[in-house]
C-alpha cells in the first residue's frame, strides 16, 4: 500500500523519529487462569489466531493494536514506524471518546469535545457533496454535534495569529540582519512534512532559518486548551481537541513533545483526523452531508461570531508568502502592494515574487512546494546561494489543497478534482488577519499584548535536529 504521508516525510524515514527500543511497552492484558499449563496457538486459514486450551476448547485471540499514542509514548516499536503510524484508528479513537462520553454519567469523566476544521478539508468535502463553503461549514457543524461533539471551530481563525506572528517575525529578522542569529531567508513552519525533513537532514543548516510561528493547527491547540478551556472553567485535560486536516503529516505534528503540556499532562491537539476519515465517519453514520439541517457556526469568542466562514488571500496553503510580503513591503519600505504577482520558475510548484524600486530589488520571496523544489532550495542554502529573503515551503505538490488526506473522486482525474477544490476554497470571503473579529481582543485579553511572554509561549515553538541514531538496533544492515 502506498504511504499516505507526504513525499518529504516518506523519504525522511520516520524510524529516525521513533527509534526502536529493547522492549515493547504496550501493556498486554493477560488473563491469568490457574492451572492452565502451556497454551497452544492455532492459526486459521484467514490468519486469525485461536488459543487451544487443554480440553480442546478454542478461544479467539484479539489482535494486538498499537495506536499512535502508544507508539510515541513508548519511544519506540520494533516494527517499522511508518506502518504503525498509518492509522485508520484516529477516527476510531474519536468514536471511543464520544462513546465514553455517552456511557459515562459522572461529570468528572466527561470530556468537552471540540473539533477544529481546516478550510482545506472543508473545501474538499464541499466538492464531494456539491455544496457551497457556508453550507458545508454549517452542515459539518451539525454532523459533528450529532455524533457528540460540543463545539466546532474553523482553523482559519487561528490562522490569523499564525499569519500575524509570521509578518512580525520577518520584519524583525530582516531589520536585524547584522545579527548572525537573525538568519535570512526565513522559511515557513506550517508544514510538518517539511519540518520533519528539515530536522532530520541538515538540521543545523536549516533550523535557524525556520519561522518559530506555530501552524494554525497548533495555535488552535493553544486557543482551545488554554483560552477556551479556561472560559469553560475546565482544566485542559478535560477538553478533547480534534482537528480535521487535509494530510496525515499533521498527525505527527500534533504528537510533538513541544505540543504536550507537562503541567496538565495533555496534548494541545489530542487527535487529528483527515478529510478522508470524516468521510468514513459520515458513511458509518449513514449520513450524506447534503441532507443535514445546517447548524449555526460556533466561534471562540463572542466578538468573533459570524455565520459565514472567512479565509485569507494567497492560495490554499495559508497565504504566508502573500501576507508577509505585503506587510514587509509596507513596514520596511512604505510600499503598498495591492496585487501580488507570482512568477512561475522551472515548474509550477516553484514561484517567485519580487519587490522592486528604481531597478533595485528590495524583497525577493519564493514559494517552493514538493520535495524536488525543497531539495533544490536546501542545496542552494547549503552553498550560500539562496537569493530569497522568505520562502513558503510546503511538502505537497500544489500545496495543502492537494494533501494526502483529501478526498479522491474515482471518476474525476486528480488535476480536475484539485481545480474544483481550489475553486471552492477561493469562494470564501477573505479578510486581513489584523481585521478579523476577535483577534485584537484576544491579543489583549488572553495574551496580554502582541510581544508578550505569553504570546511567545503560546504562539511560537522550537525545533530540534534529529541526531543520527547511534543505537545498534537502528542500524540498517
Amino acid at each position: 500500500m502506498a504511504s499516505p504521508f507526504s513525499g518529504a516525510l516518506q523519504l525522511t524515514d520516520l524510524d529516525d523519529f521513533i527509534a526502536p527500543s529493547q522492549d515493547c511497552i504496550k501493556p498486554m492484558k493477560v488473563d491469568r487462569r490457574p492451572g492452565s499449563g502451556v497454551a497452544k496457538i492455532h492459526i486459521e486459514d484467514d490468519g486469525s489466531y485461536f488459543q487451544v486450551s487443554q480440553d480442546g476448547g478454542m478461544k479467539k485471540l484479539e489482535k494486538a493494536k498499537i495506536s499512535l499514542d502508544d507508539c510515541l509514548a513508548c519511544s519506540g516499536c520494533v516494527t517499522s514506524a511508518e506502518t504503525v503510524l498509518i492509522t485508520q484508528q484516529s477516527h476510531e479513537e474519536l468514536r471511543k471518546v464520544l462513546g465514553a462520553n455517552k456511557v459515562s454519567a459522572a461529570p468528572d469523566q466527561q470530556k468537552l469535545v471540540v473539533i477544529s476544521v481546516s478550510p482545506q478539508s472543508r473545501a474538499s468535502l464541499a466538492v464531494r457533496f456539491q455544496l457551497n463553503p457556508t453550507d458545508t461549514a454549517r452542515k459539518l457543524t451539525a454532523f459533528f454535534k450529532k455524533i457528540g461533539a460540543h463545539y466546532v471551530f474553523d482553523t482559519a481563525f487561528s490562522r490569523n495569529f499564525s499569519l500575524l506572528e509570521s509578518q512580525r517575525e520577518f520584519v524583525r529578522r530582516f531589520r536585524g540582519q547584522a545579527n548572525p542569529e537573525q538568519a535570512l531567508p526565513v522559511l515557513t513552519s506550517a508544514c510538518p512534512g517539511w519540518i520533519c525533513y528539515a530536522e532530520k537532514t541538515h538540521g543545523s543548516t536549516l533550523l535557524p532559518h525556520i519561522s518559530t510561528a506555530r501552524s494554525p493547527q497548533q495555535v488552535m491547540g493553544s486557543l482551545v486548551k488554554d483560552f477556551f478551556a479556561q472560559q469553560q472553567r475546565l482544566t485542559p485535560d478535560k477538553v478533547y481537541h480534534v482537528t480535521v486536516m487535509p494530510c496525515y503529516d499533521k498527525k505527527l505534528e500534533a504528537s510533538r513533545p513541544d505540543f504536550f503540556s507537562q503541567e496538565h499532562q495533555t496534548r494541545d491537539v489530542d487527535c487529528v483526523i483527515t478529510t478522508g476519515e470524516v468521510s468514513k465517519l459520515l458513511e458509518e453514520e449513514g449520513v450524506s452531508l447534503a441532507e443535514l439541517e445546517p447548524a449555526p457556526l460556533d466561534s471562540l469568542c463572542s466578538s468573533a461570531s459570524a455565520q459565514e466562514p472567512t479565509s485569507h488571500r494567497g492560495g490554499g496553503s495559508g497565504g504566508y508568502l502573500e501576507h508577509v510580503f505585503r506587510h514587509a513591503a509596507q513596514e520596511l519600505f512604505g510600499i503598498h502592494v495591492t496585487e501580488v504577482t507570482y512568477r512561475p520558475l522551472r515548474n509550477k510548484d516553484l514561484q517567485e515574487v519580487i519587490l522592486e524600486r528604481e531597478g533595485q530589488v528590495l524583497l525577493h520571496f519564493a514559494a517552493a512546494y514538493g520535495f524536488r523544489n525543497i531539495q533544490n532550495l536546501v542545496q542552494k542554502l547549503k552553498r550560500g546561494r539562496c537569493p530569497y529573503h522568505y520562502v513558503e515551503v510546503m511538502a505537497c505538490p500544489a500545496g495543502c489543497l492537494n494533501g494526502g488526506g483529501q478526498l479522491k473522486a474515482p471518476d474525476t482525474p486528480g488535476k480536475e478534482l484539485l481545480q474544483q477544490v481550489e475553486r471552492l476554497y477561493g469562494l470564501v470571503r477573505t479578510e486581513a488577519p489584523e481585521d478579523a473579529a476577535g483577534v485584537q481582543e484576544l491579543y489583549e485579553c488572553w495574551l496580554q499584548g502582541a510581544g508578550s511572554e505569553r504570546a511567545g509561549r503560546l504562539l511560537h515553538t522550537s525545533y530540534h535536529a534529529v541526531e543520527k541514531a547511534g543505537s545498534g538496533l537502528s542500524i540498517r544492515w
Binding site: 513525499g7 523519504l11 522551472r346 515548474n347 524536488r372 531539495q375 542545496q379 547549503k382 540498517r476
Partner: protein, 339 residues
C-alpha cells in the same frame, strides 16, 4: 563454444577490495572502474596492455558502486554508498570533482546520463529515482523525485535515443519513466521477474530492453506502440512493454549484470557463479518471439562473483568484466559462425 570468448589480460584493479562496475568512455579509449576501496580508476591502453592513468580517491567516503560517462566524454559521474554522486570533469589526464549531488537518504546504487547530456538519473536504497538537470554553468538541479518503487532501486539506464528512463529494483519490477508537463511520471511497470532485478540494457535500436535478475533469468521486453500491428493492447497513448523472451536454465546463480553490444547486438551476462556468458539472437527468429542461443560461456571467468560486463562501444568484440575478487579482465569475443 569456450573458444569464442578469449581472455586478453587480467588486472588487479582494486586490490584487497571488490571491483563493482566498469564503464567505457564513448570513444572506447578509456575504461573507468570503481570499487569497495572508495576509488575510481581510469584505465587507458598502452600498446597491448592497459595501464592506470588516474586514480580518483578523494571523492567518496564509502564504496563507489557505479560510474557513468557523459555522452560527450568530458564528464564522469560516480555513485556511492555514502549517499552522494560526484561529477568529475576531465582535463587531459586529470579529473576534477566539479560538484557533488546530495539528497538521497542512503546508498546511491546507480547513475546514468541521458543521451542529450543534459539529464542525469540516480537511484538509491531509499527506493527513489531522481532526475537531475544540468545547465550551461555545470549547475545541477533536481527535476524530479520518483517514488514508484517499493524497495531498493538497483540500477537506472536511459534509452539510447529518447528521454525514456528505466529502473530495476529489489521489488522485482522494472519501471519506465518519461517527462509529462513539468514533471516525470512512471509510464510502465514490467512485472515477471520472481526476484530482485539487478540490471538493465537497451538494445541498439531502443525497441527492446533486457533485464537480469536474482531469479537467474534474463528477460527481453519489447515496446509496443499504440495501434501496433500485433494487436498488443496499450493504455491510451502510452506504449506498452511485453516480455517476448526469457533466457532460463543457463545461469546457476544470480545474474548481476547484462550488457547489450551496440555494435553487434550480442548480449553478455555477469553471474554470481563466477562465469561470463554471451548470447546471440538466432538469425531469422520472429521479432515478436525472438530466440537467443548461448554462443560463449567461460565458467571460471573470475575467482568470485562477476559484477559487471561492458562491451567496448567502438571495437567489435572487446568485452571488459570485473569481479568481487577486485580484478578487471579484458576478453575478445569471436563467435565461431563469423557474424
Amino acid at each position: 563454444m569456450k573458444d569464442s570468448l578469449v581472455l586478453l589480460s587480467r588486472i588487479l584493479a582494486h586490490p584487497d577490495s571488490r571491483c563493482w562496475f566498469l564503464a567505457w568512455n564513448p570513444a572506447g579509449t578509456l575504461l573507468a572502474s570503481c570499487g569497495g576501496d572508495r576509488s575510481v580508476r581510469i584505465w587507458g591502453r598502452e600498446g597491448d596492455s592497459w595501464v592506470c592513468r588516474s586514480v580518483l580517491c578523494e571523492g567518496h567516503q564509502r564504496t563507489v558502486r557505479k560510474v557513468a560517462w557523459s555522452p560527450c566524454g568530458n564528464y564522469l559521474a560516480s555513485a556511492s554508498f555514502d549517499a552522494t554522486t560526484c561529477i568529475w570533469k576531465k582535463n587531459e589526464d586529470d579529473f576534477e570533482c566539479v560538484t557533488t549531488l546530495e539528497g538521497h537518504e542512503n546508498e546511491v546504487k546507480s547513475v546514468a546520463w541521458a543521451p542529450s547530456g543534459n539529464l542525469l538519473a540516480t537511484c538509491s536504497r531509499d527506493k527513489s529515482v531522481w532526475v537531475w538537470e544540468v545547465d550551461e554553468e555545470d549547475e545541477y538541479e533536481c527535476v524530479s523525485v520518483l517514488n514508484s518503487h517499493t524497495q531498493d532501486v538497483k540500477h537506472v539506464v536511459w534509452h539510447p535515443s529518447q528521454e525514456l528512463l528505466a529502473s530495476a529494483s529489489y521489488d522485482d519490477t522494472v519501471k519506465l519513466y518519461r517527462e509529462e508537463e513539468d514533471d516525470w511520471v512512471c509510464c510502465a511497470t514490467l512485472e515477471g521477474h520472481e526476484s530482485t532485478v539487478w540490471s538493465l540494457a537497451f538494445d541498439p535500436s531502443g525497441q527492446r530492453l533486457a533485464s537480469c535478475s536474482d531469479d537467474r533469468t534474463v528477460r527481453i521486453w519489447r515496446q509496443y506502440l499504440p495501434g501496433n500491428e500485433q494487436g498488443v493492447a496499450c493504455s491510451g497513448s502510452e506504449a506498452s512493454w511485453k516480455c517476448v523472451c526469457t533466457l532460463s536454465g543457463f545461469h546457476s546463480r544470480t545474474i548481476y549484470d547484462v550488457a547489450w553490444c551496440q555494435l553487434t547486438g550480442a548480449l553478455a551476462t555477469a553471474c554470481g557463479d563466477d562465469a561470463i556468458r554471451v548470447f546471440e539472437e538466432d538469425p531469422g527468429s520472429d521479432p515478436q518471439q525472438p530466440t537467443f542461443s548461448l554462443t560463449a560461456h567461460v565458467p571460471q571467468a573470475h575467482s568470485q562473483d562477476v559484477n559487471c560486463v561492458a562491451w567496448n562501444p567502438k571495437e567489435r568484440g572487446l568485452l571488459a568484466s570485473c569481479s568481487d575478487d577486485g580484478e578487471l579482465a579484458f576478453w575478445k569475443y569471436q563467435p565461431s559462425e563469423g557474424i
